[in-house]
Amino acid sequence: MTKRKVALVIGAGSVKCAAAIGLARVLARERVDIDLIVGCSAGSIFAALMAMGGTSDEVAAIAARLWTRELTSTRDTRAMLSIVLPKLLGFGEHFGMRSDRRVRAALADAFGDTRIEALPTRLLITATDFRTGEQAVFERGRVVDAIRASIAIPFVFTPAEVDGRLCIDGFLSDPLPVGPAVRDGADVIIAMGFESNYQERIDTPGRFAFQLSSIVTNNLLRSRYAFHSVAHHGEVIAIVPEFRERIGLFDTARIPYIIEEGERATEAMLPHLMRMIDSPATHAGEA
């Protein structure tokens, strides 16, 4: 029997992406080998840490140190003023209201000069080409550069230049990038995605912008998932953890709870998942 090629896709979802640690724990316990990991936005951080071969505890510890509110704590005052005085101060495509100095330092601390192509597990990181809107997929180069591009949150961080492409957050092209795993020939694609929270109240321009972002992201998540489900010859298994508690963008204190929900969601799918992984590589159900 031909071994089925298994891919894990970790979608955009800020700190909620830590649920992928719970998923990885269950898969490790069941001795499921992952052949490919795809990561998008904050999911790219967890994807890279897993592709490096870190244990779930190590991944959780590094992520908690890395993904903190301090990443966005340094304002770029000139950039903020450029919103109201664009002609005077200049306004362009490299706009971002927060300095990325801290995020670059945190990524360098976690990944150093590690290259994507040198990792023990194949890794793909997605971002979005700011000029064309197309999905950018990084399969080689420095991990830190690809992640920096993938987490270039609009308005917060400047788009990042990688390999001559100006890139912004991966969620803008696909919050759950199953496509690169399909192209890479995966038979079984375990896709962990996250729905964006809607705002409980809208009393600031920031919350207004986040609400718009959530509406677009959730609709994009559904439409892209629908497309991949009907277009792909193999199996796409969506795992979307449901959080009883509201999770903030940088709620790292909740990582243990988030991991639990990831484990719970994976356990619920496990019998189906194992059957698909263990079954011969037939492609029944093609429409």
Binding site: A226, S229, V230, G234, V236, A268, M276, G285
Partner: protein, 112 residues
């Protein structure tokens, strides 16, 4: 996966039990297609005992819906719940399929 077929007037009800994935989806698709031969294409898929569907199951359902509608009928779902409902929501299928609380409601929907 186990399938059952029953006739309710001119509506054919296909009951699905267990899990629809790549290894079973073609069986579901073939069963739906077989019921369409020479009859009005009015189908109900009873999901009361359907535990899970992967993307392969979605493709089988979509193929059935398209064929029924091409023949002037429809394929409607009954008693969808839990994880199956979640997959249908996530894939946008709840926006293109008619879904009813139980088989009786789905069957009688064809009369209205």
């Amino acid at each position: 996966m186990e399938l059952s077929v029953s006739q309710h007037g001119d509506v054919c009800v296909v009951g699905v039990r267990g899990s629809v994935d790549g290894s079973t989806a073609m069986q579901l698709q073939d069963t739906v297609a077989a019921q369409l031969t020479g009859s009005a294409a009015r189908m109900v898929v009873d999901c009361a005992e359907l535990e899970y569907t992967s993307s392969a199951g979605l493709r089988a359902l979509l193929a059935g819906v398209k064929e029924c509608r091409r023949q002037g009928g429809d394929l409607r779902l009954a008693a969808v719940s839990g994880g199956v409902r979640r997959v249908l929501d996530l894939s946008g299928f709840t926006g293109i399929l008619r879904i009813y609380s139980d088989v009786d409601a789905a069957v009688s929907s064809y009369a209205s």
